[in-house]
């Protein structure tokens, strides 16, 4: 499967949107920003620094979700297969074991299953909906980073640099991190929505998981209040001390959806800046959808 084709750029509004995004992030104090969107209605794409690499934070879980379903579609594994829940992983840096700190994980439910088994499908749900780091590392341990990269390559997804499990702090200290570009995450979202390399049923299942997302202060918050009542957003956030991201599909009634990715970098020590992501989301909506009216 070849690379996901870049659609033609939106012409009239792109300069305006670029200026607006730059102004927003400057006002809020972000040190860097990248934005990309793809409109399934018009098959147009727009980006600002779409190929710039960022620490992926938890948005990398989107890529793992896609790689898992791709492996299942190839018959490599069954999503109903059980997996031993174990809090012990091997550092990419030196092969030494490390554990996740439950206190730093957004999801405690998976820790309650230590020693027992959970189905791959259930773990994927926890990885996305509550951003479980333990579920993520268990799935990546099974797929292996190289195996997941191979899956993404087969799907034509570029711009995702998947290197290690989450919270592998020793690897982080030596600069081994998971990275993503806005174009890369956009390609993952498109692959999910377009059912690339997976069945329609599989794509629908991934979408259903994403639609149950509990973190909604980014892209969903940026939609106008009246739109939020009828729109659905299938998204995955990423939040660490220096980066705040969101990537999602915005499903609107009576119109094809659009995919949007907002990646932001911040000076160290700051709090979550999802409100800035929401403002960028609002700007994209205004230019892309409100502009149609």
């Amino acid at each position: 499967m070849g690379p996901i084709r870049r659609a033609s750029e939106l012409q009239p509004p792109n300069g305006v949107l670029r200026t607006e995004v730059e102004r927003l992030v400057r006002e809020d104090g972000a040190s860097d920003v990248a934005v990309a969107f793809y409109d399934f209605a018009t098959e147009t794409e727009w980006s600002l620094r779409g190929d710039r690499w960022f620490h992926a934070a938890s948005t990398v879980k989107l890529a793992i979700l896609l790689a898992l379903w791709e492996a299942a579609a190839r018959g490599h594994l069954s999503l109903d297969a059980p997996l031993h829940v174990r809090n012990r992983f091997i550092s990419r840096r030196d092969g030494e074991p490390y554990r996740l700190d439950p206190a730093r994980d957004a999801d405690s439910e998976v820790y309650g299953q230590l020693g027992r088994a959970m189905r791959l499908r259930e773990l994927a749900h926890h990885m996305i909906v509550t951003s479980s780091n333990l579920a993520t590392n268990l799935l990546l341990d099974l797929l292996t980073p190289a195996g997941a990269r191979d899956s993404l390559q087969r799907l034509g997804v570029e711009g995702i640099d998947l290197q290690r499990g989450v919270e592998d702090l020793r690897a982080h200290e030596t600069g081994i991190d998971n990275r993503a570009t806005a174009h890369g995450l956009l390609a993952v979202l498109r692959a999910i929505y377009e059912a690339r390399g997976v069945s329609q049923e599989g794509a629908r299942e991934m979408l259903d998981i994403l639609l149950q997302q509990r973190f909604d202060r980014g892209i969903p918050s940026g939609l106008p209040e009246a739109v939020r009542e009828t729109a659905q957003v299938a998204n995955k956030t990423g939040d660490i001390s220096t980066h705040t991201h969101d990537a999602g599909l915005v499903l609107l009634p009576e119109r094809a959806p659009y995919a949007v990715v907002v990646l932001t970098a911040w000076p160290a020590g700051g709090e979550s800046r999802q409100s800035t992501v929401a403002r960028v989301s609002a700007a994209v909506y205004a230019r892309l959808i409100a502009g149609e009216a």
């Binding site: 059980p82 997996l83 791959l120």
Partner: protein
């Protein structure tokens, strides 16, 4: 509840080739120290999950507790019928003695009872391939993920089971840091009513 005596004993050497390839009955494999170890030949055939759940191996342990594996097990052994070496009754009996000593529930982990030589975690001859080992994750509310707790329960196990071997605490191969591994060594069991043990090409003695 069912008794283990109700399970059919099968000679692994007579199973279909697809199963022999993953169970490797009577095959000689090499342990971590390079010594040859001969795998078990006789297995209980477990026809369903219900049978595994209902078969009481020892007072405190059902067959399913020592049979649960995950996606890393060979595909032929992820469904039913499943095959488990007959020596699994010995480790269940030993675990029951341990259970009596600690006075609370003992949880064997997934992949922590029997796993086949074709399981992805089976790198060298592991006593798990003989069905004579158990990885204990939890005793009562104690999660065995720290040296203090692992050492404590290993000591208790040795007090009541002098023949048992406990893997020492540590992070590298040959050690354990997130469970207590207990095993009885490379023990095989040939039930009294099993067929003869002659190997292919061998005549009767």
């Amino acid at each position: 509840m069912r008794e283990v005596a109700g399970l059919r004993v099968v000679d692994g050497a007579r199973l279909p080739e697809a199963l022999r390839r993953v169970l490797k009955p009577d095959a000689l494999i090499v342990d971590e120290a390079g010594r040859g170890r001969r795998l078990p030949r006789f297995f209980y055939e477990v026809d369903s999950r219900l049978t595994a759940d209902e078969t009481q191996l020892a007072p405190w342990f059902r067959l399913s507790e020592l049979l649960e594996t995950d996606v890393r097990e060979a595909p032929q052994l992820q469904g039913f019928p499943r095959y488990v070496p007959c020596a699994v009754t010995l480790v269940a009996a030993a675990l029951s003695v341990f259970r009596e000593r600690v006075g609370t529930r003992v949880q064997v982990a997934v992949n922590g009872g029997y796993r086949s030589p074709a399981h992805e975690l089976s790198h060298a001859a592991s006593t798990h391939n003989w069905g004579t080992a158990a990885n204990i994750y939890r005793v009562g509310d104690d999660l065995l993920d720290a040296q203090e707790r692992i050492d404590k329960y290993a000591t208790l196990a040795r007090q009541v089971l002098p023949q048992v071997w406990a893997r020492p605490w540590g992070h590298t191969a040959g050690f354990a840091d997130d469970h207590l591994h207990l095993d009885l060594g490379y023990v095989t069991v040939v039930p009294r009513d099993a067929v003869g043990e002659e190997r292919p090409g061998e005549g009767a003695p």
